[in-house]
């Protein structure tokens, strides 16, 4: 049992990072300061499951937009792999490549699976001030759905900026 399997809890400032969204475009978490961000770590592109996690989120972009929230997927797959996967699944949100050093960002968030060399299925809702307001790690074989994300976004709503 690894002691590292604890995702960063609510109340923690979200560690900043810059990762490739496409082979020639870097995205930083701080680019989204001022808006809520949903970080969705998932194990790998090309999951054979019908209606997988990313496909579900793709259907919910309108819901997330109601909260002005940005959705970002992250796995250790390379940027070219993400590009092909995104095209194939018609995803309309960025997939970041936690590829070099492998899983570096996932490790900062406590969302890396040493035994598999992949990211966990872990979700973080980060508020406009860059603080994690909700996090959840799902068993790796279980798609966590989106209900927790929507509830966390609703809980952010009243005071959008920061706590107190």
């Amino acid at each position: 049992m690894s002691a590292a399997n604890h995702v960063l809890p609510a109340g923690t400032p979200a560690p900043d990072f810059s990762l490739h969204a496409t082979p020639d475009q870097l995205v930083s978490l701080s680019d989204f300061r001022g808006r809520p961000v949903i970080l969705a770590f998932y194990p790998a592109d090309w999951s054979p499951v019908c209606g997988d996690q990313m496909a579900l989120y793709n259907e919910l972009l309108d819901e997330f937009a109601r909260f002005d929230a940005e959705l970002i997927g992250i796995s250790v797959d390379g940027a070219w792999c993400h590009l092909a996967f995104s095209h194939d699944r018609k995803l309309r949100f960025p997939l970041l490549s936690d590829f070099e050093p492998k899983g570096g960002v996932a490790k900062m968030y406590g969302a890396y699976r040493e035994q598999d060399g992949t990211t966990e299925r872990a979700l973080f809702v980060i508020d406009a001030a860059g603080v994690i307001r909700w996090s959840y790690r799902s068993p790796v074989g279980v798609n966590p759905g989106a209900d927790g994300i929507l509830r966390a976004l609703e809980a952010l709503k009243p005071g959008a900026a920061a706590h107190e």
Binding site: E63, R89, A146
Partner: protein
Amino acid sequence: MSDDDVARLTLPVGPRDHSQGPVDAPVTLVEYGDYECPHCGRAYPIVKEVQRRLGSKLRFVFRNFPLSESHPHAEHAAEAAEGAAAQGRFWEMHDALFEHQQALDDRHLVGYAAAAGLDVPRFETELRGHAHKSRVREDFISGVRSGVNGTPTFFINGVRFDDSWDPDTLTEALKTATRAPATRRRL
């Protein structure tokens, strides 16, 4: 998330739903499904089989969960089923769609409408105008809020069923639910 280990149906079964079986049956099985999803296609005869086995002890409800960006015809197929429902023929269309998962383009949808004895011009107008889109979306969001994470997802008396839905396992779970103290909501 501590109370989250069991996902529950947030929108109770009620008059808005399409159901088969007695309203006061001891077990209600709800499926969130997608007419173009091959797994739902596999589940279709299994649901029929458990309906046969449980008889009047089971009420079955189907709600729409089209993953339209993975399945290009799923949304229109769901709207077609709701269009049939508007004319009192939901289940005829539901069955036709699952029995012809490879032929769900609009031309075929209209064919199934005709075969089901629908008023075809009305059906076509509603389909073209997306008259039932909001209903389909309402189902979809109710599923998301209930912890539906893919298709098919089943709920037994309001609690998500995460076990295998092969006929024997599903039948056993439903039979167990008939014996459990009723936690279901009344209409």
